[in-house]
């Protein structure tokens, strides 16, 4: 028995592929086959379909009076329809702002701690990949799934609009919708990164899901309430008109700390060319100017410039959250 004859034959290695792509591919496949994917597509589809149905009806009623408007089609997305007297449903955008965070959280809350719980993390890390390949691959897989879901849902909405309204969107409208999908994508990525952070920091998947759900409730459902409460204390709407106006501006600034607000503002401006400003005027002069302005439609680039700060804000929060998750993961011991 010679060593040469028994020497382990070296396997032929395939084309070198970055480790994060291997991890990402596997995670992407897992996501697509998972139950949560199906559930989320259904929930998101319903959240979009209900306001869509009523918005389409409302648009048909008013369509005759706005035929000269260039933006009837995108109104599908932002119109908050009256269901019956006094009851107004949120628009498609409004529903998205509520539901989209769940989409991000759902694909990330157990990314790392789930591997820990299964006992697969040490095995995964002992393969010849870099440590960050795991967290990168999982994040990119999440992004890919989110992109897929969003494109599918928005595509379905657009198809519905084409059939129901019988309107073909103008090229500018198509671009607005595409840009809105991208902003929505960034917004969901923000929650994906947050879910990732939770999955790294919190040991148990159930706990991190609960924390994620709580933060979602706090920011999107109760966020507005809390901010107006805070605003009532910090900047009460009383005193002179000028005081009231400047206090109102302060309130708006506080509100913009919420990613939810940033997303809503960006969505409205992108989808509705009639919106020419995101802030209410902070001075009497500004107020007078605004009231004298002739209603007009913003071109796409002007709309985009208007919400550029919001988009940058969303991207910055996303990057910061992911960076935090990344650093925490790199520092953690393999053994928990």
């Amino acid at each position: 028995m010679s060593a040469a004859a028994e020497a382990p034959r070296r396997l032929e290695r395939g084309v070198p592929r970055a480790g994060w792509m291997v991890v990402g591919r596997k995670e992407f496949g897992d996501h697509l086959l998972s139950a949560r994917f199906t559930v989320l597509v259904v929930v998101l589809g319903l959240a979009a379909a209900i306001p869509l149905y009523f918005a389409a009806a409302a648009i048909r009623d008013v369509a005759s009076s706005v035929t000269d408007s260039q933006a009837v089609f995108v109104a599908l997305f932002w119109l908050a329809p009256d269901v019956s007297d006094g009851i107004t449903l949120p628009s498609v955008v409004g529903f998205m702002a509520y539901v989209a965070p769940l989409l991000g959280l759902a694909f990330a809350f157990d990314a790392i701690n789930g591997e820990r719980a299964d006992g697969t993390l040490p095995r995964l890390l002992s393969q010849p990949i870099h440590r960050d390949d795991v967290v990168n691959g999982k994040f990119f897989a999440g992004l890919a799934v989110i992109g897929l879901v969003l494109v599918a849902v928005v595509g379905a909405i657009a198809a519905f609009g084409l059939i129901r309204l019988g309107l073909v969107p103008a090229p500018a409208e198509v671009l607005r919708i595409v840009l809105w999908v991208m902003v929505t994508f960034i917004y969901v990525s923000l929650w994906l990164a947050f879910g990732m952070l939770l999955s790294v920091v919190v040991r148990r998947a159930a706990t991190s899901a609960l924390i994620g759900f709580g933060v979602w409730m706090l920011l999107t459902v109760f966020g507005g309430l809390i901010v107006s409460l805070l605003g009532g204390v910090l900047a009460p709407l009383s005193g002179t008109v000028e005081q009231q106006l400047s206090n109102n501006a302060l309130r708006e600034t506080i509100t913009r700390l919420l990613p939810d607000t940033l997303y809503r503002e960006a969505s409205l401006v992108l989808l509705n060319p009639q919106v020419t400003t995101v802030s209410t005027p902070a001075t009497i002069g500004g107020y007078e100017q605004a009231s004298q302005r002739i209603p007009s439609l913003l071109s796409l680039d002007q709309s985009f410039i208007l919400i550029w700060p919001q988009v940058v804000g969303l991207v910055a929060i996303t990057v910061a959250l992911f960076a935090l998750a990344y650093v925490q993961f790199m520092r953690q011991e393999v053994r928990a």
């Binding site: 028995m1 010679s2 060593a3 040469a4 028994e6 020497a7 382990p8 034959r9 070296r10 396997l11 032929e12 290695r13 395939g14 084309v15 070198p16 592929r17 480790g19 291997v22 991890v23 596997k26 897992d30 086959l33 299964d118 006992g119 697969t120 040490p122 095995r123 995964l124 890390l125 002992s126 393969q127 010849p128 990949i129 870099h130 011991e333 393999v334 053994r335």
Partner: protein, 437 residues
């Protein structure tokens, strides 16, 4: 566990392997230390594992076994000290180390919603093995661990023992040069354990694979490992073959087992009296193991040799008495102490004071090499003729070959200690950290 279970000799495989590899040491650590806050998990570890051998890390839970393994894989950064795995530094270039080392963690887990085969396929992809090569390898390793027929069931339906087999298969997928197994057999049923240990032996001997396994199951370690390292509170308190450890930690009382053919009680009693009269024999007792009696048909007598007496001389004297009185001798062999006894004594010993600072010149910190290692005090005497050309394990193997071993081993005039020296010029194995010197 009786003392009769002995590792099969790996002398031929290991010797052949040594010719092929310039440096037979696949793992070397020098002063490897890991501190978690106040807790010293691993304390100045000097460890050596050679190609083709099965090395057992033995220790209680929390003794630092897993931490050591994680450092060897580059999954945890050592606080100080250096290590080389296949000549590579895992702290600096873990990727190449992880490409060549198969690792099965303690409490190994798999993705439950995938089949066993799919799990292995994922591992193959992570190792850049693709296509037909991957499928062939996966089939092969699944067959080796005996999971071929369940390979396409979901892992969620696997038992704990099957998961551990899959874990071993998973570690083998990358065709490693070194296998590190953390508690590989804890949840496998007794028959499965035998199979797994057989597999490990085969891998080590046929493919020249070095295996480092950690365990707290003493009899398994004893039956499969060529060399053993005993861990206690983060320190390696002993390292070597079972016999070397027995010399180090044994109570010094050597024993000899002498069995006679089944006969009437008178013959047995006469044999006992004659044996007791042999100079150097302290006492003669019946082996208190009825199962043994049933199996062999005769009760062997256990001769305890007086401290200070040369066991080889006593063995020759016993043979002379047997020949003179025409006693119906069935077997005679030295009793090798069980690992359990050794381990109990080793762990019970007070730890030697930490003499680390003076032992380690700062210049040597970065590169562990044979030259700058302080020479340990050698306990072994020159090798007896009977075991020429084989590694220390062979001495124990020779001991197992009944009476024939006794005269030749005795001719060298050695005490029970087998040779600790190497067949080549490689540095002496670090058997023990510090001697009384």
């Amino acid at each position: 566990m009786t003392a009769t279970a002995r590792p099969a000799s790996t002398a031929t495989a290991a010797a052949a392997d040594k010719e092929a590899r310039p440096d037979p040491r696949v793992i070397r650590t020098k002063g490897l230390t890991k501190v978690y806050g106040d807790l010293v998990a691993v304390d100045h570890l000097d460890l050596e594992v050679r190609a083709g051998e099965i090395f057992g890390l033995l220790g209680q839970n929390g003794a630092g076994k897993t931490t050591t393994i994680l450092m060897l894989l580059g999954l945890t950064q050592p606080t100080s000290g250096a290590s080389r795995v296949m000549g590579l530094d895992p702290a600096r270039g873990p990727l190449e180390v992880k490409r060549r080392v198969g690792y099965m963690p303690d409490q190994v887990g798999f993705y439950g919603d995938m089949t066993g085969r799919e799990n292995l396929r994922y591992t193959a992809r992570l190792n850049r093995i693709a296509g037909d090569a991957a499928e062939t390898t996966i089939d092969e390793v699944l067959g080796q661990v005996g999971l071929a027929d369940r390979a396409d069931s979901l892992v969620d339906t696997y038992s704990r023992g099957m998961l551990q087999r899959l874990g071993i298969a998973d570690a083998l997928v990358k065709d490693p040069d070194l296998l590190i197994l953390d508690e590989p057999t804890t949840a496998i049923d007794p028959l499965g354990v035998v199979e797994v240990l057989d597999l490990l032996r085969r891998l080590a001997h046929e493919r020249g694979l070095a295996i480092l396994l950690s365990s707290h199951l003493l009899n398994q370690v004893q039956s499969v490992c060529d060399r053993i390292g005993i861990f206690a509170s983060g320190r390696l308190i002993g390292q070597g073959t079972l016999q070397q450890l027995a010399d180090r930690f044994g109570d010094g009382a050597a024993q000899l087992e002498v069995g006679f053919e089944v006969g009437d009680a008178v013959v047995q009693q006469r044999g006992r009296d004659l044996l007791a009269a042999v100079p150097g024999v302290a006492s003669v007792d019946a082996l208190a193991d009825s199962g043994h009696t049933l199996a062999t048909g005769a009760t062997p007598w256990i001769l305890t040799i007086e401290p200070g007496a040369d066991p080889a001389v006593v063995r020759r004297a016993v043979l002379a008495v047997v020949a003179e009185h025409a006693l119906p001798l069935r077997s005679i062999r030295p009793v090798v102490p069980s690992l359990e006894d050794i381990y109990r004594r080793a762990v019970a010993q007070p730890l030697p004071p930490r003499t680390v600072a003076e032992r380690r010149p700062p210049s040597a910190a970065g590169t562990p090499s044979a030259k700058d290692r302080p020479r340990p005090v050698m306990r072994g005497r020159p090798r007896p003729h009977g075991t020429a050309g084989s590694r220390p394990a062979a001495a124990a193997a020779a001991a197992a070959t009944a009476a024939t071993a006794a005269p030749s081993a005795g001719a060298a005039g050695t005490p029970t200690a087998p040779a600790a020296s190497e067949p080549d010029d490689a540095p002496e194995p670090v058997i023990i950290k510090e001697e009384g010197a």
